[in-house]
């Protein structure tokens, strides 16, 4: 049996602090038992080179080890300087109060642990316990930042600060999906998800350490080229033109997608990942908006066609820059509101978080596409035939939309009206489980991280999906409705990794596709199960 780790072990010299052993992960039911012995493939030294892997032999960031003692000391100094800044209003007015409250009032009662799907599914690996990383930060803060901390450390919880501790803490902040289930059950209100994000922020804003997918290829590329996918405005326009043609071919519906219409009521901003990976989502929005006679537009300005804001996961400065860019585009287009497409983190970033960043004429109203869609479906303007969606459907709740925004019922009202075989997952709504791709995990795949995600952080969602359809025949096609690009990408990867299309006939897609699939008068369906149309 493994010796349980304690927070102070974070600074222990060892090649690997925690290794998941075969058979430790939560078991999967038939016909997936053959995956029960799978673990993330150990990284080989020749592949990782000088990269720090000593947390759990999984790499999210890829931090190079310091070359000398002097370099190590400089990094520790930099870390402490960043930690100090987390507690200064000039540097961290954005989250100073929530951070202080969560750091100073935890009773270490462990109630949060039982709510965390990563901890549970990993076979209760100590380092993934929500309080583990928080306690590490708390002890470092008390010992190295608070006056007299070194004298009182034996009393308040001792910890040594060295390179191992810092590098592991950075990696460990990327083993939490920031789903905040732990915070929702904490009797005191302590938020370990917030602490994980603050750790990420310290590393990014002070030390320039962040996963490449989030920073270099994420927010920087987004602000520079217009999209975190690397897609330029010209490419986006080309793709959308192609989508128009494809919609005509797939559904028989002729749609005109408007660009840069000044004074339109709605500026619709998609996650640009939809344009690349799920063009039917973009097409379905165009069809339903056009059919409902809405006044709307897309924007071809840099970042105006990509609503993502990866800053929400790791960096307040980048978060602010992207949010201001989005708001400024809407302001210049003179639209009445921004409607955010099916992208969960963008919902939260632009609607909730940016709410206290945008002032004056930048404070353009923002609305969830689920609310807009519900209004269209329930208004009676359009006719629908729910029998076209006569297949089992379940709904995945994106954490950022439900738990962080309280948008719970509009999507359900649509499904109850248009999907006769809709059933809930257990639990659902604000008690949902993350898809496992939250906080950037969906787009992070260097080294063995994607495998870790499929095996550990997405495992609970996979079990939930299987449970929701347990009474259906394996031959029946089943639809997982995931109204969020990152959740959708994660569910796509789960289905692929576990070969669930072959074994359980699992398919996935968005909410708007289901809506258009039931739209009366459509010549052909927009949803297909493999190469078979969902209705004839």
């Amino acid at each position: 049996m493994k010796k349980p780790l304690k927070p102070s072990d974070i600074s222990k010299k060892s090649d690997c602090l925690c290794r998941i052993e075969e058979g430790e992960l939560a078991p999967l039911p038939p016909p997936y038992e053959d995956f029960n012995q799978n673990i993330p493939t150990p990284l080989k030294a020749e592949k990782t080179g000088n990269i720090e892997t000593s947390l759990d032999n999984t790499v999210a960031i890829g931090i190079p080890r310091p070359a000398s003692k002097e370099e190590e000391e400089a990094l520790i100094k930099q870390f402490l300087s960043g930690l100090q800044k987390l507690f200064e209003k000039e540097n961290n007015w954005t989250f100073l109060q929530p951070l202080l409250l969560s750091l100073e009032h935890c009773a270490r009662c462990q109630t949060c642990s039982e709510a965390c799907p990563v901890f549970e599914m990993s076979g209760r690996q100590e380092i993934y316990r929500p309080i583990f990383r928080s306690e590490v930060l708390r002890r470092i803060y008390k010992k190295y930042i608070k006056p007299g901390g070194k004298l009182t450390a034996k009393f308040t919880g001792d910890i040594d600060l060295n390179w191992e501790a810092i590098a592991r803490l950075a990696e460990l902040s990327y083993r939490c999906t920031l789903c905040r289930r732990c915070a929702s059950v904490c009797p005191i209100g302590v938020d370990n998800g917030l602490i994980a994000r603050e750790i990420r922020k310290l590393f990014s804003q002070e030390m320039g350490i962040a996963p490449k997918e989030l920073h270099d290829m994420g927010t920087i590329q987004h602000l520079k080229t217009g999209s975190s996918t690397g897609m330029t405005a010209a490419a986006a326009k080309d793709s959308v033109e192609f989508i128009q043609e494809e919609m005509k071919e797939i559904t028989g519906y002729e749609v005109e997608i408007p660009w840069d219409v000044e004074g339109a009521d709605i500026l619709l901003i998609h996650n640009a990942g939809e344009i690349l990976s799920w063009p039917e989502n973009v097409g379905a929005f165009a069809i339903i908006f056009q059919a409902a006679g809405l006044s709307w537009t897309l924007s071809s300005e840099t970042a105006g066609y990509d609503v993502v804001n990866y800053g929400i996961w790791y960096d307040d400065v980048q978060l602010s820059r992207v949010a201001v860019r989005h708001a400024d585009i809407a302001r210049r287009l003179k639209v009445k509101k921004i409607v955010i497409g099916e992208c969960g983190h963008a919902h939260k970033a632009l609607t909730v978080i940016a709410d206290r960043l945008l002032t004056g004429d930048l404070n353009i109203p923002r609305e969830s596409a689920m609310v807009t869609l519900e209004n269209i479906v329930m208004s009676g303007k359009l006719k629908f035939d729910p029998q076209k969606n006569d297949f089992p459907v379940t709904l995945h709740d994106p954490c950022n939309v439900v738990r962080s925004m309280g948008i719970v019922e509009p999507q359900r009202r649509i499904l109850k009206k248009l999907a006769p075989r809709f059933r809930e997952m257990t639990p659902h709504g604000v008690d949902n489980y993350c898809c496992g791709g939250g906080s950037g995990f969906a787009i992070m795949s260097r080294y063995n991280f994607a495998e870790w995600r499929n095996l550990v952080s997405s495992r609970k969602k996979f079990l939930q999906i299987l449970k929701a359809f347990e009474n259906e025949s394996p031959e029946t096609p089943k639809y997982v409705c995931a109204p969020c690009s990152n959740c959708k990408g994660t569910i796509r990867d789960i289905i692929h990794y576990y070969r669930a299309e072959e074994r359980s006939r699992l398919y996935y897609g968005g909410l708007v596709e289901l809506t258009v699939n039931a739209l009366a008068g459509m010549k052909k369906p927009i949803i297909n199960f493999g190469d078979k149309p969902s209705w004839e």
Binding site: H105, F155, D355, G406
Partner: protein, 310 residues
């Protein structure tokens, strides 16, 4: 008189520490929104499933509905009965609840003794209502002491016996529980042996209100358990707000200022004024994409491009 001075000093520490905590959190900059639903301030129909005003089409054009009553109905059992812990962690609740109940009832007993003492000073000692207050203080005192002894013993046992709690407990955590347990034990022994009807306790509180000059103000030191109880109760009062035990009242901020703070930033609102002020702060973060050496404000940085793009 030394006992009275100790109690006064400890009360002063308590008031100063609580005041400092409150002041810090009342004057801290307005932070970005980070609420978690259900937000209990939403109307009842929304609270039932965790919905928000953002489910409404064009919500910004409508008058916002919120409900303080819902918040109170939620917080009362949360504070008094620890409903959240009962729901999520029943095994811990079995010990944590009696401990907290013991502390609440000690506070209630002190308040009842204070009412009685003030009434005595005002010449209403024989009043029927005061007799009821005195009777109540005996009931709250005894129930509180029994609950406190059971709860603090149980919590100490749990912290020591449960590996998951033990590995995250610091010396301070054990010290806190042992401190509370010793206080409850001393008070229990004092009540059992020399003060079953809390008359001496009442006299001590009367002495506190009269600086020891009123008759029949208690002369501390008449019994060892009584003297220890006075010392420990005073020290515990000063100690609580200096530790994480202050979560008992700081929970207000954790809930109302973070978890349930979904107040939108409407044009011209106090929130907007606060945000404008925040945006003028000049950060000194050092990473390449933000490094401005404190020369640019958040507003300027948010409107600028990162260095990587230049």
């Amino acid at each position: 008189m030394g006992y009275y001075i100790l109690t006064y000093l400890c009360l002063a520490v308590f008031i100063t520490a609580v005041g400092r905590l409150m002041y810090r959190h009342l004057t801290i900059p307005v932070h970005l929104r980070w609420e978690i639903y259900p937000v209990q301030g939403e109307p009842a129909d929304k609270v039932s499933y965790g919905g928000s005003y953002m489910e409404e089409m064009n919500w910004w054009e409508k008058k916002r509905k919120s409900s303080r009553v819902n918040e109170i109905f939620y917080m009362a059992p949360e504070i008094l009965l620890m409903r959240g812990l009962w729901k999520e962690n029943k095994r811990l609740w079995q010990m944590s609840f009696p401990l907290h109940l013991g502390l609440y009832l000690m506070l209630a007993t002190f308040l009842l003794l204070s009412i009685s003492s003030v009434s005595t000073l005002c010449g209403f000692a024989e009043d029927g209502g005061i007799m009821i207050v005195n009777g109540l203080s005996v009931a709250t005192g005894w129930i509180g002491l029994i609950a406190g002894v059971i709860g603090s013993t149980g919590m100490l046992y749990k912290r020591l016996a449960d590996r998951e709690l033990r590995d995250y407990s610091t010396f301070a955590d054990y010290f806190n529980i042992v401190f509370i347990l010793i206080f409850f034990l001393c008070a229990f022994v004092a009540a059992s042996t020399v003060d079953p009807l809390f008359n001496a306790s009442r006299d001590y509180v009367l002495g506190l209100f009269s600086a020891g000059r009123a008759v029949p103000a208690y002369v501390p030191g008449r019994s060892l358990p009584g003297a220890l109880t006075i010392i420990l109760a005073s020290l515990l009062t000063a100690y609580i707000p200096l530790t994480h035990l202050s979560h008992m009242f700081m929970k207000f901020f954790l809930y109302h200022r973070v978890k349930w703070d979904d107040t939108p930033n409407r044009p011209g609102s106090p929130i907007e004024t606060a945000v404008k002020k925040n945006l003028e702060y000049r950060p000194t973060w050092k990473a390449r994409h933000v490094d401005t050496d404190g020369k640019l404000s958040w507003r300027e940085i948010a409107s600028s491009a990162p260095k990587e793009m230049k």
